[in-house]
């Protein structure tokens, strides 16, 4: 893998030595203002809200820690753990499936028609709302749905498998197809940008597929992988469509709890939960970005 490292370094040296990069001040200012106004301010306000007192009809401006002391009460602790367990598991499954699929499409498929066809099929679901995409599964997994009636018809079961719907299994079955695209596309884009010569060089140097993935693809596709994790994990944490339609209220996720709290004016508790979720997500992403396999390529590409 030495040749590969040298190749990347050379390109960076040339760029670093020969070109003086002008920092675009106006775009940075615009970005900073928008980021501060639309991202940081709500987060700071949420943090402040979590330390206020909840009144009958709204928030009262008196310091209180009651929202934080009730963070794990009424089953919320278990719900938090369940939510992260499901979200992380689904994200990892998506990665395991999406990475080889994206590699296949980016580097192995030579037919333009097949490339376009696959991309179109993966893009099509985004034109439908999540509700529409989810609700169809109820007719697939219900007691008299396609799966159960099909299995009964061929004699594999003698009575419906009721656990296909309104269980944690059904949450996984519902989340996986919805969030495949959000993991697949960023990885695919990163892989497409990798020069084929690096892959060929790996083979020339006697590297195995494992070496290729570990030393070339994972580091160079790091930005796409991290984007895939963000675009998949974060929306799942806030998803209450799948849990509502396929979980049937039997498997409650944090988003359901948050919605329920908002419906009942428990704004301070909602704020505390939101801060916890944001914090845990931030830690998870930090861990991901600092992982050895991804860090090398990510840092190199950032230079």
């Amino acid at each position: 893998m030495g040749a590969l490292q040298v190749g990347v370094s050379t390109a960076e040296t040339q760029r670093g030595a020969g070109v003086k990069i002008r920092r675009p001040a106006i775009p940075i200012v615009i970005f900073t203002v928008f980021w501060a106004a639309l991202v940081v301010t709500p987060l700071v306000l949420t943090l402040i809200y979590s330390f206020l007192r909840q009144g009958e009809l709204g928030i009262e401006w008196h310091f209180s820690t009651s929202a934080w002391s009730g963070l794990t009460a009424f089953g919320r602790g278990a719900t938090l753990v369940r939510t992260f367990r499901i979200a992380i598991t689904v994200t990892l499954i998506e990665f395991v499936v999406a990475f080889p699929a994206a590699y296949w499409l980016a580097k192995r498929v030579r037919s333009t028609a097949l490339n376009v066809g696959v991309l179109a099929l993966l893009t099509a679901p985004f034109f439908l709302s999540e509700d529409s995409r989810t609700v169809v599964w109820t007719s697939v997994y219900s007691n008299d749905g396609l799966v159960n009636s099909g299995l009964e018809k061929i004699g594999l079961i003698h009575g419906p498998i009721s656990s296909l719907l309104f269980t944690e299994t059904s949450i996984y079955l519902g989340l996986l197809p919805i969030y495949f695209g959000t993991m697949f596309f960023p990885i695919w884009m990163s892989l497409v940008l990798i020069d084929d010569e690096y892959i060929e060089a790996t083979r020339d140097l006697g590297g195995s597929y494992f070496d290729l993935v570990k030393d070339v693809l994972l580091p160079l596709a790091a930005p796409g992988i991290i984007a895939g994790f963000i675009f998949t994990l974060v929306p799942i944490l806030g998803d209450n469509v799948v849990s509502g339609l396929l979980g049937g209220g039997q498997v409650v996720l944090m988003s359901d709890t948050v919605q329920s709290l908002v419906y009942n004016f428990q704004y301070t508790e909602t704020a505390a939960i939101s801060i916890v979720i944001t914090g845990v997500v931030a830690v998870l992403l930090l861990v991901l970005m600092r992982s050895r396999a991804l860090r090398a390529g990510f840092v190199d590409l950032r230079r």
Partner: protein
């Protein structure tokens, strides 16, 4: 028609007759019975109404009291209807009123009874009953129930109400008269859907527990935190036993779950069963020996509308026969003047399909019978609302 109108007050008698006569090209039995004087005043009133009122009435609330068509309303009041819909949940409604200015921007509010205890005189005023001629004919039990009153006095105007229980398939369970099939029956394990709402499911479970002697609960619709906790303990136990297949949240979901027989029992609203019957499903709405979950959606007058004559035309329409008959035919709900609904159907048979006609008449008879049974008034704003909500969250999370 005269027999149907015998017990109708003069204002609504006029409204009924005017509408009927105008629709029938000013001829018919009603005209003969009431005479030319009433007819003339009705015609002039109608002309004045049309000429002077070209305004729009804005109502803010959930849509369960909405008619499919407001043409009758426009004809009777000269106003167009603009009904802004909000979710039938206390939080979003109150939030829109308190922080969204819904009370300032709408002529009338409509919401579940009990909400007046949250909003109170800061946002609402009691209606001027002298401007509603039929007020004294509203049944006392309707006017003075906790859903309608504030500090013991009527504070809203009755909209629609019903006594809810649950729907089921008799072919699986026979004739059912107990909530046991919903909460505690081996025949219905994993075949029950319960409403994802503490407002209905918790008091219904409490009613069942009282009847079975499982707990002492003084008021199912205004439970203490300890009482709510006991009910939730029971529900968690039943949840872990596999009693509940799922929770339902919307009209469509309730119809789908029962219609596809994903479940065979559900504590749904009566219109769900009515819709399923129309689809040919062999379902029934239960008469419950433990009692009923009685609820009411009322019209509330925002402070700024106190002297607006427009709202009283509308409120008189909502207390009139046409609205009573139509909402009963469409949704299966009763209004503050069931007597006028019956009179209207009898006076205007051609406006209703035969099945709807029979249903409305039967419906009001049933409603009266049901209200003689035990019931609790559903309360959107119990004293310990936050604690009850938290207990419901514990049940859901278990």
């Amino acid at each position: 028609m005269p027999d149907a109108l015998d017990h109708v007050d003069s204002y609504h008698r006029e409204m009924l007759t005017r509408d009927q006569l105008l629709r029938r090209s000013l001829v018919g039995l009603g005209a003969l019975a009431l005479g030319p004087a009433v007819l003339a005043s009705a015609r002039s009133a109608s002309a004045a109404t049309s000429a002077e009122r070209s305004t729009t009435l804005s109502v803010f609330g959930p849509n369960y009291a909405e008619l499919k068509s407001w043409s009758g309303f426009t004809q009777a009041t000269g106003q167009k209807m603009n009904w802004s819909i909000v979710a039938d949940a206390t939080g979003p409604f109150v939030s829109k009123v308190v922080t969204g200015g819904a009370a300032d921007h709408n002529d009338l509010l409509f919401f579940d009874g009990g909400v007046q205890n949250i909003l109170g005189p800061k946002y609402l005023v009691a209606p001027d009953t002298s401007k509603m001629p039929g007020w004294s004919k509203i049944p006392h039990t309707v006017l003075y129930n906790p859903q309608m009153t504030y500090k013991g006095k009527p504070f809203g105007v009755p909209g629609v109400y019903n006594a809810d229980s649950f729907g089921y398939y008799p072919k699986d369970l026979g004739t059912v008269t107990s909530y046991s099939v919903l909460f505690e029956d081996n025949r219905t394990l994993k075949k029950v859907a319960i409403e994802d709402n503490w407002l209905t499911t918790l008091p219904e479970a409490a009613t069942y527990m009282i009847h079975k002697g499982y707990a002492k609960i003084s008021d199912p619709s205004n439970m203490t935190p300890t009482e709510a906790s006991k009910v939730v303990d029971f529900l968690i136990q039943r949840k872990k036993a596999g009693q509940f297949r799922t929770f339902w949240t919307s009209w469509e979901e309730a119809i789908s779950l029962l219609g596809n027989r994903e479940v065979i029992v559900a504590n749904v609203w009566e219109p769900v069963i009515r819709a399923l019957l129309a689809q040919g499903k062999k379902v029934e709405y239960a008469y419950s020996k433990e009692g009923y979950n009685k609820w009411m959606g009322a019209f509330w007058v925002p402070s700024h509308s106190a002297n607006n004559p427009q709202i009283y035309d509308a409120l008189n329409y909502f207390l009139g026969g046409q609205y009573a008959a139509q909402i009963a035919a469409e949704q299966g709900y009763a209004t503050g003047r069931p007597d006028l609904g019956i009179a209207y159907v009898k006076a205007h048979p051609s406006q209703f399909k035969p099945a709807d006609r029979t249903y409305v008449l039967q419906k009001y008879k049933e409603t009266t019978t049901k209200y003689r049974s035990k019931y609790f008034w559903q309360n959107a704003a119990p004293q310990y609302r936050a604690e009850i909500e938290s207990e419901w969250e514990r049940f859901k999370s278990a």
